[in-house]
């Protein structure tokens, strides 16, 4: 177990974690505030990838503008589903879940109709290698990791320091009290959904850069989001961060030494164990 192996594993783990956390955060946010299990969340991530591809091909702007623009566009495109699919079903756990499943099918299959089924690659803006000491890191992964971390920091600052962030936290704690304090819960839901899908879109765009882009790729980030959110606790933001780090690191480590299947198995086993022993996750709160 030499340092030579550990450093790349750690690096890979970190970049994976950062992307996973971006996606999982949005998922847990939507559950925490609106109590909706958004089965279509992975498809919003996928959308981010396709917006990025589309914009890169059609806009002469630099990557640094196109990437956030893609994320924002995903957020904007989530407003219609929020209003017409989810809003009527807030408070109904199972129907909203089933409707989300339907939405995920519509989005994925819609993407197939528009873009075709095949996988594609996003042309890499960063192709170099970054050298630190005797380790080399691919530049694109470095950039991805940096962007993801920056986005997470921005999100944390937003929730912690802005008034909207305060409103979000209040509504998450107790909707009735929030309404009594004059907080517009409907607007809060819209903002939450926008933020959640925007981050998912960003995560998906970054993910698509490293791996490949296809209409069905949404199920991967969704599965990861599930795992992270169960580990960290449904509805807990720090939990998502913790879960993301644990998952990214363990996946990187296990995949390198034992192969991808073992990594998958272990994460599934961990979920089952957690759901049985502590369904509210490491940092969540048990509800009645």
């Amino acid at each position: 177990m030499s340092v030579d192996l550990l450093v790349p594993i750690f690096f890979n783990g970190m970049s994976l974690s950062a992307i996973y956390i971006l996606v999982a955060l949005g998922f847990t946010l939507v559950f925490g505030i609106m109590r909706v299990v958004n089965f279509a969340h992975g498809e919003f991530a996928m959308m981010g990838g396709f917006w990025l591809l589309f914009l890169l091909n059609w806009l002469p702007l630099t990557y640094w503008v196109v990437l956030p623009l893609a994320a924002v566009l995903v957020g904007v495109s989530s407003l219609l589903p929020e209003q017409f699919v989810f809003r009527p079903l807030y408070g109904q756990e199972l129907p909203s879940m089933i409707a989300a499943l339907g939405l995920s099918v519509v989005l994925a299959e819609g993407a197939v109709i528009v873009f075709g089924v095949h996988e594609r690659n996003i042309p890499s803006t960063f192709q170099g290698l970054f050298q630190v000491g005797r380790f080399t890191f691919p530049e694109d992964r470095l950039v991805v990791m940096a962007i993801a971390l920056a986005a997470l920091a921005a999100f944390w600052a937003f929730v912690r320091f802005t008034r909207i962030g305060l409103a979000l936290r209040t509504v998450a704690q107790d909707r009735e009290i929030a309404e009594a304090q004059g907080i517009d819960t409907r607007a809060t839901y819209r903002i939450t959904f926008f933020l959640a899908t925007m981050m998912a879109g960003l995560g998906g765009a970054l993910f698509a850069q490293i791996y490949a882009l296809s209409p069905y790729m949404g199920s991967v980030p969704l599965m990861k989001a599930f795992i992270i959110v169960i580990i960290g606790g449904l509805g807990s933001v720090p939990g998502a961060a913790l879960g993301g780090v644990l998952l990214g690191m363990s996946e990187s480590f296990l995949a390198t030494y034992f192969g991808a299947s073992v990594a998958e198995f272990t994460s599934f086993g961990a979920i089952i164990l957690l759901l049985v022993l502590r369904p509210w996750g490491l940092l969540g709160t048990p509800e009645g």
Partner: protein, 321 residues
């Protein structure tokens, strides 16, 4: 008030003459192959019938108030059990078929007490995970399952059943028995207390109903029946592969229940027939059909949560006003 009484009496009349309707349906199901000879129709009809078994068995689980996303995994357990026993060990179909129900039921008995303690979202997530685990096992345990390629050349239950039309009648008989058993369970005292659990666990428990034991029992029965479907399907299409038992298939079974209507057993039966037939009529528009699938799901949840049954009821009542 007058309209309501009218609809209720119509419903009551329907119920009293239920056996008449069932008889008519039964006669139709037996007689139509005499007039329509294309094998294609027998093929589709067979699939419809086999899926009624799985959809009805999922209905049992839904009746206890739990939404399972791993039902297809248990179908896979049944299918693979039957395939392995007949192709590798040369067992006769009858025994393999029995085993194809017992194996998923046994697994359900073991994992049930763990899974069914969870409710709502958590149960959905853990069943989703379980489904993924089974998919992984089917793919990775190559020596046993043949990996992603699956198992081929599964023999028909009997030389008489190589003909697709003959298999149709076999499937009809099996489906009738399975659905009949499920219907009987639901109409018996067991069904009453399943409903009581779903409507209020606290109240049911305070009347002495052993909640977890009931749920596990029903879950095991449901998994057994979908295992039977797995076996019947396996011997019909003559192969099994992990790809047939993914989350997508579990979703399919759920959608049959949702679209047909979750209020009663008729819902999944109608849903199974409808959803099995639909792809055949939308042939050539495969992608559009998939999108429509999702759209219908959303629309049903938003506007007609009672599914096709509810649509039928509404049509009946407006027809009479």
């Amino acid at each position: 008030m007058g309209l309501r009484a009218l609809v209720e009496s119509a419903g009551a009349g329907l119920r009293r003459r239920r056996w008449l309707w069932l008889g008519v349906l039964g006669a139709l199901l037996v007689a139509w192959p005499i007039f329509i000879h294309e094998v294609f129709f027998a093929y589709i009809a067979t699939l419809m019938l086999l899926y009624t078994i799985g959809a009805a068995s999922l209905h049992l689980v839904l009746r206890t108030g739990h939404l399972s996303l791993c039902h297809a995994a248990f179908m896979g357990l049944g299918g693979y059990t039957s395939a392995l026993l007949t192709t590798r060990l040369g067992w006769p179909f009858a025994l393999a078929f029995l085993a194809s129900g017992l194996v998923p039921a046994a697994v359900a008995l073991v994992v049930g007490p763990i899974l069914l303690r969870l409710r709502g979202v958590y149960f959905v997530l853990i069943t989703f995970t379980l489904g993924e685990i089974v998919r992984l096992v089917l793919n990775e345990w190559k020596s046993l399952t043949g990996g992603a390629d699956g198992i081929f050349r599964i023999p028909p239950p009997s030389p008489l059943l190589v003909d697709k039309r003959a298999y149709y009648y076999f499937a009809l008989a099996m489906a009738a028995i399975c659905v009949g058993v499920i219907a009987r369970i639901l109409s018996s005292q067991t069904g009453r207390y399943i409903d009581s659990i779903r409507e209020s666990e606290r109240l049911a428990q305070s009347s002495g109903v052993p909640i977890l034991r009931f749920k596990v029992m029903i879950f095991a029965i449901a998994c057994g029946f979908v295992g039977f479907q797995g076996s019947l399907l396996a011997h019909f299409i003559t192969f099994v592969a992990p790809g047939s038992y993914t989350f997508s298939e579990s979703l399919n079974l759920l959608v049959m229940n949702v679209i047909g209507g979750m209020g009663g057993l008729a819902g999944p039966l109608i849903g199974a027939a409808f959803l099995t037939a639909l792809p055949e009529f939308l042939r050539g528009w495969v992608e559009l059909q998939r999108v429509l699938y999702g759209v219908v799901l959303v629309l049903v949840m938003l506007f007609v949560p009672g599914g096709l049954i509810e649509i039928g009821r509404r049509l009946l009542s407006t027809g009479r006003s």
